[in-house]
């Protein structure tokens, strides 16, 4: 009874001018908190698979928050600029390297060289790994041939076999592309193979009972079924490619983002190091967004 009364009292209380000031403050707070709100719940979602809903606003907030902390830490000189230059310094350096260059090449040239290496390795891997992975899935001889090779070198860090690649192929472009290529090849081939294996036996049987030949089963059922995993393999593969870039550009490179970062590190130009890392991250992220777009366009039936 008492509770009810007090609720009424609150409801009916007139809003005075004095009260409206703190209210705007709490509105701000609400707007701020609203980016963490899941938004209106769709039917079946409260007790559906966990983790649904939009997360973009939260991601943007995280990014902004990290940059802010970074800014405060450098502004208040918690750390020396040698270890952590300010965001402003990094942006300035970005502009400087973009226009004047660093280590005898502009940012565009560094980026161009790196992209050329990563994407030509990616392209070569796509041309070889996908067919080999598919053949490993549908043919026991090919599987027998490639399985030990891939499974052996896959867990090795690229830095471990980099010296061997250099001894065999020299210090030119070829060894750099080959190193990245090897890193991309394994995940791409294994994904294609897993995609081939993921086909439901009913679909294969259905095709046979409609008069399909073995070749038609492979072409019309198995290959298309493997597409989602092939695309996933491409995403994972290019990720490994960027990861290996710095290792590939360690020896005898004249330009490249990895080279630029290593070179800057040698001379303790920390702002170029951070700027290079951010540029690599952004390029890799944009490409991943493109691959996700491709996935939505090519395999809207994925997981259905």
């Amino acid at each position: 009874m008492k509770n009810q009364e007090s609720i009424h009292a609150l409801d009916l209380a007139p809003v005075s001018k004095a009260e409206s000031a703190p209210k705007t403050k709490s509105n701000l707070m609400q707007t701020f908190l609203s980016i963490f709100a899941a938004g209106p719940v769709k039917p079946g979602e409260s007790y559906g698979a966990p983790g649904q809903g939009k997360s973009l606003a939260i991601s943007l907030f995280t990014t902004a928050f990290l940059i802010l902390i970074w800014h405060i830490a450098t502004y208040l000189q918690w750390v020396k600029p040698l270890f952590l230059p300010s965001p402003v310094a990094v942006v300035q350096r970005f502009w400087e390297v973009a226009t004047e260059g660093f280590a005898n090449a502009t940012l565009l040239e560094h980026t161009g060289w790196s992209m050329m290496r990563v994407f030509s390795a990616f392209f070569l891997a796509f041309l070889t790994a996908v067919p080999i992975g598919i053949l490993m899935g549908v043919n026991r001889i090919v599987r027998g041939l490639f399985d030990p090779i891939i499974e052996f070198y896959r867990p090795l860090p690229p830095l471990a076999y980099l010296p061997l690649v250099i001894i065999w192929l020299g210090i030119g472009e070829v060894s750099k592309v080959v190193l990245i290529y090897l890193a991309i090849f394994a995940p791409m081939a294994l994904s294609a193979r897993a995609g081939v294996k993921s086909v439901a036996i009913e679909q294969i049987h259905a095709a046979y009972s409609m008069g399909a030949t073995r070749w038609q089963v492979i072409r019309h059922i198995i290959l298309i079924n493997a597409l989602p995993e092939i695309l996933t393999g491409m995403r994972i593969g290019i990720g490994f490619g960027w990861t290996t870039l710095v290792a590939a550009e360690m020896v005898a490179a004249q330009a490249g983002l990895g080279f630029m970062v290593l070179n800057a590190a040698e001379f303790l130009v920390t702002d170029v190091v951070i700027m290079g890392i951010i540029v690599i991250g952004i390029i890799a992220y944009l490409f991943d967004l493109f691959m996700r777009y491709l996935e939505r366009k090519l395999v809207p039936w994925k997981g259905k």
Partner: protein, 282 residues
């Protein structure tokens, strides 16, 4: 029209991890006459699916052989030097359409493309493909859904697509492995009636597997009951409840006929006896 015959067929599966081999079917002798609607009923694991897979050609008999008309359909695939790419000479073929319980439609194709898929494999031209697939989609009541992605359809509609797809190649028989097993009771009854109509219109031989005694009695012109370990056909009844339905169009009345209920009790008795035996064996 030609009959399907099974001559003295046994199927053994090799045991898991070098264990004892499983005799899934033992010395089956059995034939399906043109125009028959055969329903197979039996507890899980009694070899119904194995029998259907044999007829479809997906697995090969360990002993005996199968014929459809004059041709041997038990043929073993010719696999040479591990290159699994050449055509199979016998085994599965477009003379036997198959409808599965689930997972067998192609999600990257729409309803019409799924129904016409067999014709595409045969190299039939686009115009004729659309024409023939449309005919069977109309037969199963999907004339307004040609462009829909199959993964957006309800389970019942997906099975309609499956049935239409099984028919577009104009097979001699349709093999259905618990096609209505995953559906709700109402949809199930609708599709039972639809299948009987399809059967009457197309005059195909049907081999239909089910767990449900009522469904079996309602659909079958011939009902076989199987028992496990080893898989055998123990009973073989001729029925005509499906014809009564096709004349009266009143499923509930058919299912409450005294003869229907008596038969249901009898079949339940047979199956229940089986299950008690199974329970004792474990």
């Amino acid at each position: 029209m030609s009959r399907l015959q099974i001559h003295d067929v046994s199927v053994q599966f090799p045991g898991m991890n070098g264990g004892e081999s499983v005799t899934a079917l033992s010395e089956i002798n059995f034939q399906i006459e043109p125009g028959e609607f055969v329903v197979a009923l039996g507890a899980s694991g009694c070899g119904k699916t194995t029998l259907l897979n044999l007829m479809a050609g997906f697995i090969q008999p360990s002993n005996g052989y199968l014929t459809l008309g004059d041709s041997d359909i038990s043929g073993l695939p010719r696999v040479a030097c591990g290159l699994d790419l050449q055509d199979q000479i016998t085994g599965p073929g477009k003379d036997r359409g198959v409808v599965f319980q689930k997972h067998a439609l192609l999600p990257w194709l729409n309803v019409l493309e799924n129904a016409a898929f067999g014709l595409k494999l045969q190299g039939v031209g686009k115009k004729e493909r659309i024409e023939r697939a449309s005919y069977f989609l109309k037969l199963v009541g999907l004339e307004d859904f040609h462009k829909h992605p199959v993964y957006q359809l309800s389970g019942g509609m997906q099975q309609r697509v499956g049935i239409a797809r099984g028919l577009t190649n104009d097979p001699q028989m349709l093999l259905l492995d618990e096609p209505l097993g995953a559906l709700d009771a109402l949809t199930r009854e609708v599709l039972q009636e639809l299948l009987l109509d399809v059967w009457r219109k197309t005059q195909k031989m049907m081999f239909f597997i089910t767990h449900s005694v009522e469904e079996a009695l309602f659909m079958a012109s011939r009902l076989i009951i199987m028992s496990p370990r080893p898989g055998r056909i123990t009973h073989d009844f001729s029925l005509d409840f499906n014809k009564i339905f096709l004349e009266t169009r009143d499923a509930r009345q058919v299912k409450s006929m005294p003869e229907f209920i008596a038969m249901r009790e009898k079949v339940l008795g047979i199956i229940h006896g089986d299950e008690v035996l199974n329970g004792g064996a474990h």
